[in-house]
């Protein structure tokens, strides 16, 4: 495809609509939704652009490879939401840094079912994502397949094993409150 040859050259900068079209052309229906939000700031009212996309889990790794072909992204962080039956992972990228005022924030959301919470690692494309993937493993209970280092990051080693602090179901929250209530029983003098 003629478009692919052009975009291997990272000097060409695409506008936000063209970026969305680049992904939709490749993956067609697997992209569930996409939205472009623009907000203006300052006296000159220049706009900054946020692109939000929801994609299907099956094309996740190819999507990341496609993004790296377009331009090498900067992974800011991976946030997670517990939505009841599924867990939603949001990868916040930013592309086209380095040129004044032309950066685009690119946010990709993937949903994994709670019965089988697994996702592939992106450490082979972006080695800097190791820390954020390790954190998701211990906080949300997601298993990242192929991660080079599996240890816990922030929680201590003797933290109970199947307790994932960010999940919102009642059992997890009760388990956490047990760890919390034994703290200081402050005596209040009235």
């Amino acid at each position: 495809m003629a478009e692919k040859k052009e975009t291997k050259n990272t000097n060409k900068q695409l506008s936000p609509e063209e970026v969305v079209k680049y992904f939709k052309d490749e993956f067609k229906t697997k992209i569930k939704s996409s939205e472009i939000k623009k907000r203006a700031t300052g006296l000159k009212k220049m706009e900054f652009v946020n692109i939000w996309m929801k994609i299907d889990k099956s094309i996740f790794k190819d999507f990341i490879k496609h993004l790296c072909d377009l331009t090498y992204p900067h992974l800011a962080v991976c946030s997670g939401n517990d939505l009841g039956k599924t867990i939603e992972l949001i990868y916040n990228f930013s592309i086209y840094f380095g040129k004044n005022l032309e950066e685009i924030s690119f946010n990709v959301a993937v949903e994994v079912p709670k019965s089988k919470p697994e996702i592939e690692t992106i450490c082979d494309y972006i080695p800097g994502s190791l820390i954020t993937e390790r954190e998701k493993q211990e906080m949300l209970g997601i298993k990242v397949i192929g991660i080079p280092d599996e240890r816990r990051l922030f929680l201590p080693e003797d933290f109970p094993d199947n307790l994932y602090p960010w999940r919102k179901d009642k059992e997890t929250q009760k388990g956490i409150e047990k760890l919390y209530k034994n703290l200081h029983e402050g005596k209040v003098k009235k």
């Binding site: 000159k44 800011a76 005022l101 703290l183």
Partner: protein, 412 residues
């Protein structure tokens, strides 16, 4: 009979509490003689459950919680949070508030870089420069106290604007401070950059190449010193920076070449101090008239946030790098459904590994300090643990935890 001897490496643990480190972090080095062969970093020692606590409070209370994530970055965390909330529920910010936010952000950057310069000199052993830079920093802190009421936790931000104005009474003191810094900047530059000892200890040490910095997603002056052009203020139009014209600071502006070693990081930070002084002067000159906040009545603001669902991302450039907050509201409650914080040192941990391999043990403090780590920013997530080995950390937060207990008791 000859005994079998094999050559192997030593394991040297440093931390979590050690005189060379400013904050608790656990390093495990594999040493061969005096050279470092491999590095392993373990975190989790200043773990305070701030995100979990935040998901139970309304947005006005979270601003003050975010301020206390870190003492030095105490402006950027509430700023990124306010921008995330404003992006999530569509609240406009008046232009005058944007300019005032720029002034405070740059003032904080000056204080932080001068503190870092003193700490870096102390790690080399050059204590005279420590006293010189911290004396200059006192002037900047005096100005902060005059403008906001306190030296460190500024409490000047709110959702939709700022709380205090910069009036014509304040301007003489601001001009006096800027003149003082401009005069003394030459002194600082000569003491740091043209000194033989500093050059000997820092040139060629702790090198981070351009490719490594790009792949490991490093942020802030650490990555700019290696030649990667990444700066939230110059990349995206945000607050009033797009009007003021910011450029990336890389060390070739002063020395002409980019090596990615500790000396380059010192150069980058000192150039940024100069840039911040220029930005403050421009912002004061060009400040437009207008409102300070878009919605002054707080109960109305909280009710509006309660009814509007949405998710938003707020990014900001701290003195150490990029800070990003993600907030999601579900349209039914006042407190956010999810709040995720990623401080800048989080992304600067992985670059320690290529920087420290091949160096000598005596270089560990200066290399580790050259990325300006802020461990309090990094460990915030998850749940409070009451195990005995963590009790010391929790005691420092005793007041905060007691207050949570009391609130629960009051709510019953």
């Amino acid at each position: 009979m000859s005994s079998e001897t094999t050559q192997t490496t030593y394991q040297l643990p440093i931390g979590p509490i050690h005189p060379a480190l400013k904050e608790p972090v656990m390093f495990k080095f594999e040493i061969d003689g005096e050279r470092i062969v491999d590095v392993d970093v373990e975190l989790g020692h200043v773990h305070r459950a701030i995100e979990w606590t935040g998901m139970r409070r309304n947005p006005i209370q979270i601003i003050y919680l975010a301020e206390r994530i870190c003492g030095i970055c105490s402006f950027v965390h509430p700023m990124a949070f306010c921008r995330a909330v404003e992006n999530a529920v569509d609240i406009e910010v008046p232009e005058r508030a944007d300019y005032i936010r720029v002034v405070h952000g740059e003032l904080e950057r000056i204080c932080s870089h001068l503190l870092w310069a003193g700490v870096a000199a102390h790690e080399i052993g050059f204590d005279t420069v420590l006293y010189l830079t911290w004396e200059m920093r006192e002037k900047a802190l005096d100005l902060t106290e005059y403008l906001t009421g306190n030296r460190v936790t500024k409490a000047i931000l709110t959702i939709g604007g700022v709380r205090r104005d910069i009036t014509s009474e304040h301007i003489p003191k601001i001009s006096e401070t800027i003149n003082y810094f401009n005069k003394n900047f030459i002194k600082l530059k000569r003491a740091f950059l043209e000194d033989k000892t500093v050059k000997m200890r820092s040139q060629g040490v702790g090198i981070l190449t351009y490719d490594d910095a790009l792949k490991l997603c490093a942020v802030g002056p650490t990555t700019r010193a290696s030649g990667v052009k990444k700066d939230v203020r110059a990349d995206q139009p945000y607050a009033a920076y797009s009007d003021l014209g910011i450029d990336y600071t890389t060390p070739d502006l002063l020395t002409g070449e980019v090596n990615g070693d500790v000396y380059d990081r010192i150069v980058t930070r000192l150039l940024e101090v100069k840039q911040s002084l220029e930005i403050i002067q421009k912002a004061i000159d060009q400040m437009p008239a207008g409102d300070l906040v878009s919605e002054p009545k707080i109960p109305k603001l909280l009710n509006y946030i309660k009814k509007t669902p949405g998710e938003g991302v707020g990014r900001d450039e701290a003195p150490r790098g990029e800070v990003i907050h993600y907030v999601k509201f579900d349209g039914e409650n006042e407190h956010p459904y999810t709040w995720k914080v990623r401080a800048s040192t989080y992304a600067n941990i992985l670059p320690w590994i290529p920087m420290l391999k091949g160096e000598q043990i005596a270089d560990i403090p200066i290399v580790a300090a050259s990325t300006d780590p802020c461990m309090s920013c990094t460990n915030r997530v998850g749940v409070v643990n009451n195990k005995t080995n963590q009790k010391m950390m929790l005691d420092k937060e005793t007041l905060h935890k007691l207050s949570i207990e009391k609130t629960r008791r009051l709510m019953r």
